[in-house]
Symmetry: C2
Subunit: 722 residues, 2 copies
């Protein structure tokens, strides 16, 4: 069994055009079941949109009430169609949907979009109807989008299988594939994208996801070579594995995924549950999986669009060094602040660059980074052009951001300058044109620049671009690492808490460094063990019936000599017997007690309802309870990924050299996290929970000091495939 | 001497119209020195603007080259003017500025705006010229704005003493007074405000601030009763006291100040230094002073405008409970998330509200908070109107946010609904109209609503509104608290490190609880002291020559018996003598050593270059070094303010009950912070630095365990007035 299954080979293939959902996303013909002559109505709009936008395939309206709609013949039912349509748009009341689908299945239609509401979102009766739909599409092998959704648009081929308000306006195709679980909010995002000339190649609202879910549809959207970036609005995922695979697939294609997921907070999760009827899932796990697979998680729609804008241009920076060019010293200061806050580097410019800028920039400007070209560029546009080219030409600059404002009187000049700049630049240049005229901004956008409304938005997008590029470089660098063995399978026949010593030995064999631990069934054995291990020692009661050892007096620390060990043994036995009458006290564990300076960490493994086995690492001790500074990934993780987990903790600086103590051995900690993640893989479905708390992390390594291992059920690993 | 000098009385007066800078901000006549016939030129624009916008006062162009400019007579020099102008706009080369000002002074002009560059910003020669200007305006008692600035606008009276591009467009007056230290960036902000129909009553660019600075001008801008909120863009403050007084004055008037200050990060501070030639000041201190005096610190221009927008309407919420109304379940989830992240409460609605909403909202919507009214409101606008009114009528709701999108076809309907809603609502309602038509958004704005482009922006503004309202309630509640005595003055005749024991006694007398500490000049005395205090004890060398005691072996902890005390005394004396030959070892301090569970904190006092004595509290121990989790205020602070300082620390949750330990006594900690702040006031200019580290904070109180007190110079307190 191999551990790095999902990354065994580096999937860099450009993807093919053979899509499972081809008929859904790019149909050669479209039937509209329940088509209306009233183009203002929900069931009239798709036909209007298809005609208005110029869909090239055959269109078959179906409605027994009409002979024709406009010039198109209208059919009384599915059976009367001259051929099986590639795609059927279903706009009939919910209770009629199963029959329509059955008719389409019989006719041989491979795909359908269902607008109708009245399914699981309205309660048990609807859920039953939804189950019927599920059975029918399964039986006929149909691809399904919906029900209870706005449908979909393929803007390249003018497939307007939607009734969304968005289609009332222009729907120019572009490099963004947008898949949304929310209809109304998705429409708003699409409209905002249009406002900034960001073309959506696809717009898909997945609705109740009875057939194809978010990940499946997005995978096929990304397979279109005209799509350069995927945008997702997610309220809840049903299939974490599919999402993770999508994410890694997207990374392989270098088509970044930008996702907004709601339900982060308790209030949000409550609202999501009442809205979608499904749980949002633990948000921190989703966050971790995004980090792991290079998904950019956008905070909100504006952040999403800013990031999409810059990613859709396809240029990637080689590093985090940003060159700032402004017409305002004040804006330069704000940008430098923002850049540094976001982890970008406002790197000093090279000597040659500075010398050249001195020739270009007026004396009352500034030639350091940020470069202040002053308002003089209005009179002399070449100042603008030459300074941007010079800064971007500097080998110390990976990405450029230029800031200016207003200029309503100088649109033509500026557009000419940007045309000129466009030639021969191979680094990303983000344009921040504040309070500028719309025609000017649109013209610069159409030249292939991302234009932002504020310095903050531009730098946030630049930072995401830099992070994505770095993430992908890491991914490329790591994906040919040799696979590692997964480790052994647990073979306990009981479910529940595994006895500490057995768990200890299992974990040790699985590659997790454990503190020296000896089981002792008698006081004498304990004394001998302590003597061998060396004082001071720790003593813990060993009993499968006692899980919270501290609470019942089952743990004694700092036992410094034989007398202390004897006394502790007796006390533990009597205290625990009193607190837990009837518990099977098998004896004690004696452990080495290291007094050297350490940082307490915690490493765990849990079964996430959506993502399956996830590994966790966090700061231990009081910080765990108060700050819950932990991070998750889907198992397995490499040591490199584990290192990124550790570095992402807010408390990570505590692992550096502090107060004379050398830095903690993070590599050892990362190895431990990776080993635990492999335990999760080798025992998928069998380990219900593993909690190593504390892990003692020191400058010399990391050791598990206490642990709790709980099995789910005897050997049912095969039930969980992932 | 009294401690709460700046808050002795609650300054709630509405302000009068008698302004120091009346002639500058609202002149009855304006002379333009160096006026040009070419209205496109910098020195031609003010005249054009004054004429175009309809300034009602007298205008006197001055230029020996012309007889007339347009229909206005043009004067050869200042002396020839028929009267002393209230305000002179000076647009001549820098080297001619002093003569112009002198002429104006002789003529009796009370105020001037100087556009000209070429002063301190260009180096030593310019600085000399600037000093001339300073002397001249001082001699004649003239108010001065500039030099090296864009000038100012009073939009109410059409005073266009500016050459800013901003004035090319409409300059409708409104409730915002905007004072900016950056010209170009200020222009961008002004243009963005105009785009969202947010009227600027004043626009002032302060330039080099040779005459009036940011605080002085803002104070007089706020004195105008038509101004409801102040907006500031700050690159560096010269006078912290004036800023603090301005802030408290604004709080008294209930005219919130919203300030963007740049130079937060190292990169930003570097850029600011090169741009303005002045230091940005320690950003954390500025942050603390803003919190203290209710100034809202905006992260960037968009945040600033969002907050101004909602504050300028004047309605204040009674609490943090937000009622969310949307047409999209998805948007509702996003809003609930955002609200909770920002510290707002998505409170359950009352029973009556829910019952009423059930009658209004379609069955497939949601009547919980967030309320999802669905797209059905397009067909039935009363759903929209009635649900908003119902939610805002709920006593569990303090502020409402409504979200919808697009609706280009329904602008008139929506505007009518908002007109209707406008009647009789007394709670703030923020409107989030995403990707909406500009005419609709503008119409709703003109009805007196704040309209936002995204849920995130609306909720961020709502959160600032709630925080400001709470801050002002606190301020009103606290401003009549009886003054407290400031405590005694230090009377050490030496400057530098104060001997520990003397510092200890002084701090104790000043109301700072100190750990039990006894000075011992001999081993025997140390043993007696330890015996009296109780074991274990701590021993520290006492010598004014030794500041870093730990490094030279000058501290011994956990001395458990007499032998340990004797051994420690000897070792300390020999170790320190070896490390610090010649140091005057006066003996040791013996201190009680409490082993009970405590949180280590740090409390300090320092002289800030801009704000004078500032008090600091933070998390101690490793956290101090790694996370620097500290917060500042200008001294003095009340216990209530100190409590807010403590609660604002990231580590504040560690002070709650943790792992069975009861909560730390925060009140005792706050009292200690307040006492230290009073030390700063009683000894202004005398205490250079006080560093109490650690403070042991326990469930039973707080004690200073180690401290360093440094005096600045012998008794020069009177030199520092603040």
């Amino acid at each position: 069994m191999r551990g790095r299954s999902s990354r065994r080979t580096c999937r860099l293939s450009g993807g093919t055009n053979v899509r499972k959902l081809e008929a859904l996303l790019n149909p050669r013909s479209i039937a509209i079941v329940g088509a209306s002559k009233n183009f203002a109505k929900l069931n009239g709009r798709p036909l209007k949109f298809l005609l208005d936008k110029g869909y090239k395939g055959a269109i078959y309206p179906i409605n027994p009430a009409y002979d024709h709609i406009g010039e198109l013949p209208c059919y009384p039912d599915v059976a009367s169609l001259p051929e099986a349509p590639d795609l059927a748009v279903i706009a009939v009341p919910a209770k009629m949907v199963p029959d329509s689908l059955r008719d389409l299945g019989e006719k041989g239609a491979p795909a359908a979009v269902v607008f109708s509401s009245g399914f699981s979102e309205v309660g048990p009766a609807g859920a039953e109807l939804e189950e019927d739909v599920r059975q029918i599409v399964r039986r006929y092998g149909m691809a399904l989008c919906g029900p209870n959704g706005l449908g979909l648009i393929n803007a390249f081929e003018h497939v307007m299988a939607t009734f969304s308000q968005f289609a009332n306006g222009e729907t120019s195709a572009g490099p963004v594939g947008f898949v949304t679980q929310s209809g109304a909010f998705g429409t708003a995002i699409a409209a905002l994208a249009r406002e900034r000339h960001l073309g959506l190649g696809y717009f898909v609202n997945t609705g109740n996801e009875v057939g194809s879910g978010f990940a499946e549809i997005m995978t096929d959207v990304l397979a279109d070579p005209r799509i350069r970036v995927g945008a997702g609005y997610v309220e809840g995922l049903k299939d974490g594995k599919a999402f993770a695979e999508l994410a890694e697939h997207a990374m392989g294609l270098d088509k970044p995924l930008v996702v907004t997921k709601v339900g982060k907070t308790q209030a949000g999760a409550r609202a999501a549950a009442s809205h979608t009827g499904s749980l949002a899932g633990e948000d921190a796990v989703f966050d971790g999986v995004c980090s792991q697979f290079g998904v950019i998680r956008a905070a909100d729609e504006e952040h999403m669009l800013d990031v999409l804008d810059v990613l859709s241009l396809g240029v990637r920076p080689d590093g985090p060094r940003v060159g700032l060019i402004t017409q305002s010293g004040g804006a330069g200061v704000l940008m430098a602040d923002k850049a540094e806050e976001l982890g970008l580097e406002v790197a000093p410019l090279g000597k040659q660059t500075t010398a050249r800028l001195k020739e270009i920039v007026p004396a009352f400007g500034a030639v350091a980074n940020p470069v202040d070209i002053t308002a003089q560029f209005i009179a002399e546009p070449e100042i603008f052009r030459d300074s941007i080219k010079t800064v971007l030409g500097d080998p110390n600059v990976d990405v450029g951001v230029v800031w200016f404002q207003l200029m309503h009187e100088f649109v033509d000049t500026l557009v000419e300058v940007f045309k000129d700049i466009r030639q021969g630049i191979d680094k990303p240049l983000l344009v921040c044109w504040v309070a500028g005229p719309k025609d000017g901004i649109d013209a610069v956008r159409d030249l292939g620049f991302s234009v932002f409304r504020s310095a903050g938005a531009a730098l946030t997008a630049a930072a995401e671009l830099v992070r994505y590029a770095e993430r992908r470089r890491n991914w490329l660098g790591e994906c040919d690492v040799a696979d590692e063995p997964v480790g052994e399978r647990l073979s306990f026949s009981v479910s529940g808490v595994v006895p500490s010593l057995e768990a200890c030995e299992f974990l040790r064999r699985s590659g997790v460094p454990m503190v020296e631990t000896q089981f002792c069934a008698s006081e004498r054995a304990a004394v001998e063990a302590a003597h061998r291990i060396g004082y001071p020692v720790v003593m813990k009661v060993e009993s499968a019936d006692v899980t919270h050892k501290t609470d019942v007096g089952g743990i004694r620390l700092g036992l410094g000599d034989e007398a202390a060990v004897r006394e502790a043994y007796e006390r533990i036995m009597s205290d625990v017997s009193r607190s837990c009458p009837g518990a099977d006290l098998r004896g004690v564990l004696v452990q080495a007690m290291d007094r050297s300076e350490a940082v307490e960490m915690v490493i765990g493994l849990q079964q996430d309802a959506i993502f399956g086995p996830v590994v966790m690492v966090g700061m231990g001790g009081v910080a765990l309870e108060v700050a819950r500074d932990v991070t998750f990934r889907r198992a397995p993780v490499s040591e490199a990924e584990a290192m990124r987990m550790i570095d992402g903790l807010r408390g990570a600086p505590l692992l550096g050299p502090v107060r004379g103590r050398p830095a903690i051995d993070k590599q050892a900690l990362a190895a431990m996290v990776a080993a635990v993640s492999r335990v999760g893989i080798a025992n998928a479905g069998n380990v219900a929970e593993l909690d190593i708390n504390p892990v003692r992390a020191t400058p010399d390594g990391a050791l598990a000091v206490d642990w709790l291992l709980v099995t789910a059920a005897p050997n049912n690993a095969s039930e969980h495939v992932f």
